[in-house]
Structure formats: C-alpha cells, structure tokens
Symmetry: C2
Subunit: 309 residues, 2 copies
C-alpha cells in the first residue's frame, strides 16, 4: 500500500565534530521517503527552487518513490545550516533560508488523492489541513509538528489534530503541546484531542508509543559512531509508516513492529551525513538490525513468589 | 544469599511541586535495603549520629535486614536538603550537612565478612577499597560513584574499579568517568578498566546494561505521578542485587531479569516521599509490575524479505 508524504525538500549545511557537509539533500519528505521506500511505495509532495539539483533525488525514484508531486517554483530552494555540539545532543541553527518553501501550498496530484496512508510532515497546520481536504478517503493519517506551530498556530493545530490518527513528535513538543511535564499525561492529553496513537521520539533515549490501552518502548540502537543526527526523526517516521504500508495491519502488534522498524531506519540514517547511508542501505541490513533489536529488550521472566515480601 | 551494602544513612529534606518533607529517612544504604529486602536478606553497614531516629529503620529489620552494622557516632546525622524543578528533571541541593558521615570509616562486623554479594554505595573510593579489604571472599562486587569522586579521587577510583564486577552509575557519570560523550564507548572504556558489567541509570529514560557481548535496555515504568525521585537509583540498585541475591544466577539472562527488578523497585520508590512506598510494598505488587514490564517492550516480529530493498 502506497504512502503519501508531504513535507520539506531542502539543502542542508551541517557541521558536526566529525566534519561538515554543504548543499546536501535533506528535508523531512526526503528523509521520510528514503527510509519508507525500503518497505513500501511512496508518493512525495513538496516544493524545490529552480536551483535544486533534482537529479540528487534519482535514488528515490529508483526505489519506487513517485516524485511527480515535487513542484519546481521560481526562486531559491529551502536551505538550512546547523551545528551540533560535541556530544551531538544539542543543535544550533546557524541560519534558515526558507526560499520557495515560504510560499509552499501543497497541491496533491490527482493520482495521489486516493492515498490510504498519509504522513503530514512538519509544515504549517493550515497546510496540513489543506492536504487532508485534497485526499479523498485516507485510512491512516499521521502528522508531525514543532514548537513554532505549537506556539504560533495553536488553533489550526488543534483542528488538524482532530483529523489525525497518529501524532508523531519529540518529547519536548509533546510536553509543550499539552503544557504538561509528565510524558504519560501529555500523551493522554493529546489522545483526548484527536489522535488515537501518539509516538514520542526521544533521540538517543529511543521512542515511546502510546495507544489507547498500551504503552510500548523501543530503545535507540546503541551506535559507537553517530555521525550526523539530522533526519533521524524523519527516517524513524519513514520506517514506521513504511512498515505499516507494507503490512497493511493496524493492530497493537503491528504498531509495535512499526516502532522497531522506525528505530532501525532512524539508526541507519545517523551513520553518515545527509541520506548517504539510507541510499546504500539494503533489505538484508534492515533485517539484520531488526534481529538485533530483539536482543536489546528481550527478557525471560517467570514471576515467582518473593520469599521476603 | 545475603547482600552486604555499605552506604549513607541520612535524614532528607525534600521539596517537590507536590509538597515537602523534613527529617525523612533516606540515604543510599536505606533506599537500597528497602528495595533489596523485598527479594533477599540484606546486611547493612553505615553510620548515624546520636540524634538519628533509629526506630524509623525498624521496618527494615522486620523485613530481614540485619542492622548490626549501623554504627552510632557522637554528633549529628548526615542531612541533606534538595528541591526538584516543576518537571522533576532537575534537582538543586539547598544544603548538605555531612555530620558524622564526614568521618565514616566502615567497619564490617565479623559476621558480615563472609558476604558473597557486596554493594558499595556512593562513598569515598578509598573507603570502598577498605571495605573490600575486610570482606573475605566476595563473589560479586558492585559499586556506585559520583562526579565528586570522579573529579577529585580518580586514582583510588580506578583502583577500586579493578576490583569491581559491576559499576552502576548514571549516564552523566559514565560519560564523565570515561571522558567520552558516546554512552556505548563510555561503557566499553569502563569495562576495560575492570568491571565486566556496567549498568547505566538514565532516570525517566530507563537503564542500560552493558555486558561483554550484550546490551540490554529496560525502560522506566510510565507513571502519571512521580512524587519524589529521591532514592530511585538506589532502589533500582536494591531491586537489581536483590534479584541476583535471590536467584544466585550470574548469566546474561539473570542480569537482564535483575534490570527489570531494578526498574520495578525504582518505579515504586518515586511514588511517595522517602521510603514510604517501599515500606508498604508487597510481593504481589512487585510481581504485578514485573508482568507489566513485559508488555512495555515485547514485540513479535518475523523478519521477512522486504519487497523494495
């Protein structure tokens, strides 16, 4: 089952303690698609400027991503420059040039409008709502958002939430949205405002899935060398929805498995700059790491009566 | 199998957004023993001042803790006052009165010297070494430490590490000790300096066990109301070693199960001030939460070939 993703297509400038990269393909829709296309067909909607090296997205097309929703607008592409702290836990934005992304108004191609699985990347919630108006009968709608919209566009954001099945945010965003420091309470608040499922990404601390009656944790894969954390969250989302797109299942067990796929794809994304690692990734490598995730949390415990309780 | 613990016995003053408590029993040896004694007999070594309300430790004696290693010294007890931020993630020490703890020199009673499992709470590494010299033939030695000793007593700390099987610290301490921001590399560094096992406690983000060929994650139990985080790490240690003391096993699987017991006991510790919740805790409640931990990380995933890999 094919997945429709709407989000940014960018050129990233990134500095880490391991080196730097300029004019590298990035953006939420790109990282999402690079990951999701390992598992299911993807339909991508976004905008680039006339200066965008569009051939750099050819690897996506070769992997079954339909790029016909990428509009080329007169002007400069969305560019961003960020620098990571030595321990990679803090990111400073050096500059942001929105370019044509500032006037992005997603137009969903006719042949994408029957998409059953829709991922609304982190864009203006007004535009996220507009996308939903263009899609005829989606079966599973997920959205990302960020502090900028939580602060400045709360009303459309809450309207958007009502139409979403899964909100996928980081822990700071979940707490900010619900104005609640306790993550479990924050997730329950979000669920009361629409989404049946809340996925909270916590970077090196893994991710948590909140369902109606379920909480499920998946750790981050322990890597000796995290090279560039950019795009890890979007690759997580791509792995998550790629798995759901492939399996077609919607049970609690399916969502648990999707979390593991998300964590696996996110872990590969950070091993090199930009989408470089996702480009060369093979199905065997995905499966190998899926197997390793089992060992990371598996335990065998028969509960017996404690002698001194 | 009985567990010997050496650590602080304190009177805590704690402020959280839920309220405050004064002159409450606390200290690493107390939280450890309150948790471990749910699972195995404990022998406790520490010092209190002549002003200590020693009857407040009666609940430990009733649960099989041998308190004969608690020395009463002339002077004031160790007192500490701390305040937690609204979200409970930051703790400020308002004041510390070391009192008799400043001159603590652990003397291990003769009938404790055959202990096979020894937990060295967070005290001067010189004293931790001294304790090990007094114990005849320990089979499993674990230690905690903190930034103060990592900064100021590095040489004795490294000597102590050589004689320890398990180092149990928080993530900041692991990184500081190894001077390495990557947690996996930091754990490997620590393992090269002595301990076969490293347990890294990450508070609300759970805990990680690093063995020779294994990495195992256990999440923190998701609580709607964390009341007072004081002692959570020591209760974790108590649950961990209490399980190992009870089971007697030393395999990778035993250590994984110990991590789950640690997380369960730590989660109960934070539900009320001081050791209040651990006091009333029953074996059934421990078992109930152990069962819930299975659901928190269990997934069932047969790896198949990806169609688009």
């Amino acid at each position: 089952m094919s997945i429709l993703v709407v989000g940014s297509v960018a050129l990233d400038h990134v500095e880490t303690s391991f080196g730097s990269v300029e004019e590298a393909v990035g953006g939420s829709a790109v990282f999402f698609s690079a990951a999701a296309s390992m598992l299911a067909p993807v339909q991508m909607v976004g905008v680039v400027g006339s200066d965008y090296p569009i051939e750099k997205l050819d690897f996506l097309a070769r992997r079954g991503v339909d790029l016909s929703g990428i509009e080329t607008a007169e002007g400069e592409s969305f560019r961003w420059k960020g620098r990571y702290s030595y321990d990679l836990n803090d990111r400073t934005t050096i500059w942001t040039q929105l370019g044509v992304f500032a006037h992005f108004k997603p137009s969903i191609p006719e042949h994408f409008r029957d998409a059953r699985t829709v991922f609304l990347g982190n864009i203006d919630p007004v535009l996220q709502l507009d996308v939903l108006d263009q899609v005829r009968n989606p079966e599973l709608v997920a959205a990302d958002t960020m502090n900028f919209w939580i602060d400045g566009s709360r009303d459309p954001l809450l309207k958007m939430l009502e139409r979403v099945d899964i909100l996928m945010v980081n822990d700071g965003e979940a707490r900010q949205l619900a104005d609640e420091p306790n993550l479990l309470k924050a997730a329950r608040w979000i669920q009361r405002h629409g989404p049946e499922w809340v996925v909270v990404k916590k970077g090196e601390h893994g991710a948590v899935l909140f369902g109606r009656d379920t909480v499920f944790f998946v750790p981050a894969y322990p890597l000796e060398d995290v090279f560039d954390p950019t795009g890890a969250g979007d690759a997580f989302a791509g792995g998550f929805f790629g798995y759901l797109g492939r399996s077609g299942g919607r049970s609690d067990d399916d969502f648990r498995r999707a979390m593991v796929y998300g964590s696996v794809l996110g872990s590969y994304a950070v091993e090199q700059f930009s989408v470089d690692r996702l480009k060369t990734l093979t199905a065997d490598e995905v499966n190998e790491r899926i197997r390793q995730f089992r060992d990371l949390t598996a335990f065998d415990l028969e509960v017996e009566a404690a002698p001194n309780g």
